[in-house]
């Protein structure tokens, strides 16, 4: 390309312009002394596009309130283009920079947003309750097929990760516990510790966190994408309730799948522990099983399994509500999915703490 050039004629009246005026011209823009230009002579222009035309007019210091300069000796297509840009391009004032909140303002906004979340969640629970009451009186409206598909997704799909994770946690736990117990010759009590920890705490909490990340995020992303594509509105206009079609099957599926997964997690965790105790502590599998049947109490198992459906309901509620409240852009889907996982994990930890205190107070 030939570099763009602009200079004044001898009389200092007209700006004589030549070369290629395109967006690349910005790098070669000639310096002008900034007095307003009355006439532009464009005979020497080789190439011109709208970006170049705008740069040229800017270089000539043509302000929005200046009279438009006369165009002289331009080729017809360059003249037409320059006129088009003059017509449209001179009102291109720079936009004001976006305002940034100070710390007080962002705290305020954050608080209001949190309050909005809480109110929204309450409204959502209310709506869901009404919907469930309707389904109890008229169960034909429950989507059995959708429910089955969801159970398959949530339960069957999660088995490998849950079993693998809890097996390894059982291994680690037994290994560390055994290392300590060995010093006191208390090998067999490792089984007691494993039983208590896995069944009561580790399995329910870890499974819930896994499901929040795996299924909760998936639910929010799916419902959010459906919202963006107007599918939720389409369901509503067909006279169906998005709650009955989408939300209820997902929450029920979580409710069914979570206790089953926790139980599988219990078994996998104990199996992992059994492997280590056999290797490290010389507790043969049959001794391990004997000890388990000696010390196991039904309540330990039940405590873990009772937590599961409560976690399930919270994960389902949070995930569905965040999915349905996505606004119509892609960024919002990402933000809401992140929020689902964060809210679910926080809810699980807080609920687990409440359970711990509750069960101790109740002597369970």
């Amino acid at each position: 390309m030939t570099a763009p050039n602009a200079r004044y004629d001898e009389a200092g009246q007209a700006l004589i312009v030549s070369g290629d005026w395109r967006v690349e011209a910005a790098a070669y823009l000639p310096r002008l002394d900034g007095k307003p230009v009355r006439v532009i002579d464009g005979a020497g222009i080789h190439q011109l596009d709208t970006n170049g035309a705008w740069l040229l007019l800017n270089a000539a210091r043509v302000q929005a309130d200046d009279p438009l300069p006369e165009l002289r000796a331009f080729q017809p297509q360059h003249r037409a283009l320059l006129q088009l840009v003059m017509q449209h391009g001179l009102a291109t004032a720079a936009s004001p920079p976006p305002r940034r909140d100070n710390i007080l303002q962002s705290t305020g906004r954050g608080t209001l947003a949190l309050w909005g979340h809480i109110v929204g969640l309450l409204g959502f629970v209310g709506q869901l309750t009404m919907e469930l009451l309707g389904l109890i009186t008229d169960p034909r409206h429950l989507r059995w097929r959708e429910l089955a598909a969801q159970v398959r997704n949530v339960f069957v799909g999660a088995i490998p990760i849950v079993v693998g994770m809890l097996f390894l946690l059982g291994v680690v736990f037994a290994y560390l516990l055994g290392d300590q117990a060995q010093q006191y010759g208390a090998n067999i009590f490792v089984v007691d510790g494993l039983l208590m920890a896995i069944l009561r705490e580790i399995s329910p909490v870890i499974v819930a966190i896994l499901i929040a990340g795996r299924t909760g995020a998936a639910i929010t992303a799916q419902l959010g994408a459906m919202k963006v594509a107007d599918e939720i509105d389409a369901i509503a206009t067909l006279g169906l309730s998005p709650f009955a079609v989408l939300v209820v099957p997902r929450i029920l599926a979580l409710l069914i799948a979570m206790p089953l997964l926790v139980f599988l997690g219990d078994v996998a965790g104990m199996a992992g522990g059994m492997l280590i105790t056999a290797q490290q502590l010389d507790i043969a599998p049959h001794m391990f099983m004997d000890r388990v049947s000696d010390v196991i109490q039904l309540k330990i198992l039940v405590v873990g399994l009772v937590k599961a459906p409560v976690f399930a309901i919270f994960i389902g509620l949070i995930a569905c509500r965040m999915g349905l409240s996505v606004s119509r852009d892609a960024k919002s889907v990402g933000e809401h999915t992140t929020s689902t996982v964060v809210q679910s994990v926080v809810a699980i930890i807080v609920l687990n703490a409440i359970f711990a205190v509750l069960f101790v107070q109740l002597d369970i």
């Binding site: 395109r22 967006v23 690349e24 910005a26 790098a27 596009d49 709208t50 970006n51 170049g52 705008w54 297509q77 037409a80 283009l81 088009l84 840009v85 449209h88 391009g89 009102a91 291109t92 004032a93 720079a94 936009s95 606004s327 119509r328 852009d329 892609a330 960024k331």
Partner: protein, 257 residues
């Protein structure tokens, strides 16, 4: 102009997608400065062809050249240089929903020019004005705009780098007739003033009748015919007859305007 320098050359292209034959031995060529429409029934592979021409899909056989350079065979740097020379308007606009309208249009300028961001934004505003948008639209989000305005923003983005070649995928679909005609005229105006070559896929007969130099008809994986509307009306093809009859049907009363 008797022989124009070809800008798009598609030769012996064959495409199969999922076991279906979409194109077989397809040839077409578009010269510089032409405004060409690609028409054809649903499922004749118009959009697939468009995606192949802009290098998003690779045909199984045949070559596609833009400005004499083969699409898909160049190094990434060559392909990027090629991409700077054409703009694409996707069917639903494909605006970036997380950016403001102004930044949507300025994105190609941010990426491909060394200009300061403030200048890029002012150039973006020029493009928005050229596309017929009011100045206050610039700071809005795409989700706050109507469908017609989103199309205009997408056009402004396609024009950001002053391409020589513009691809439009169904530019008037989803617009009301008034906006659609206004959009047609805008495209023609820009094509004439900026010297653009325009290649558009459309179902809109009114677009064909108002702004098109030449029509290419796709049927059964091949180019059935190419020429002005008058040429095509002479052709004895059942689909084409029905196609033009569809307009005669509802425009018969107002013929002659």
């Amino acid at each position: 102009m008797a022989t124009r320098e070809p800008v798009i050359e598609v030769s012996s292209v064959a495409t199969q997608l999922g076991g279906h034959v979409i194109h077989r031995d397809l040839n077409l060529s578009v010269g510089r400065g032409e405004v060409v429409a690609l028409i054809g029934g649903s499922g004749t592979g118009k959009s697939v062809l468009l995606r192949e021409i802009i290098g998003l899909l690779k045909p199984q056989a045949g070559t596609i050249r833009l400005f004499g350079q083969s699409v898909g065979d160049g190094s990434p740097a060559q392909m990027n240089a090629l991409r700077r020379r054409f703009g694409v308007l996707f069917q639903d606009g494909a605006l970036f929903t997380s950016l403001s309208v102004e930044d949507n249009v300025a994105t190609p300028l941010f990426e491909h020019t060394g200009l300061p961001h403030a200048t890029c934004r002012r150039l973006a505003r020029l493009k928005l004005a050229l596309a017929g948008l009011p100045p206050d639209a610039a700071t809005k989000r795409p989700s706050e705009l109507s469908g017609g305005m989103r199309k205009r923003v997408a056009l402004a983005r396609a024009l950001a780098l002053d391409p020589e070649l513009l691809f439009l995928d169904e530019p008037t679909s989803g617009l009301d007739p008034i906006s659609a005609r206004a959009f047609d005229h805008l495209i023609r105006l820009l094509a004439d003033n900026l010297g653009l070559t325009v290649f558009l896929v459309t179902h809109d007969l009114d677009t064909l009748f108002s702004i098109i130099d030449r029509v290419i008809v796709l049927s059964d994986g091949k180019v059935l015919g190419s020429g002005t509307l008058a040429d095509l009306k002479q052709m004895n093809d059942p689909w084409l007859r029905d196609y033009f009859a569809a307009r005669a049907g509802h425009k018969g009363a107002s013929h002659g305007n």
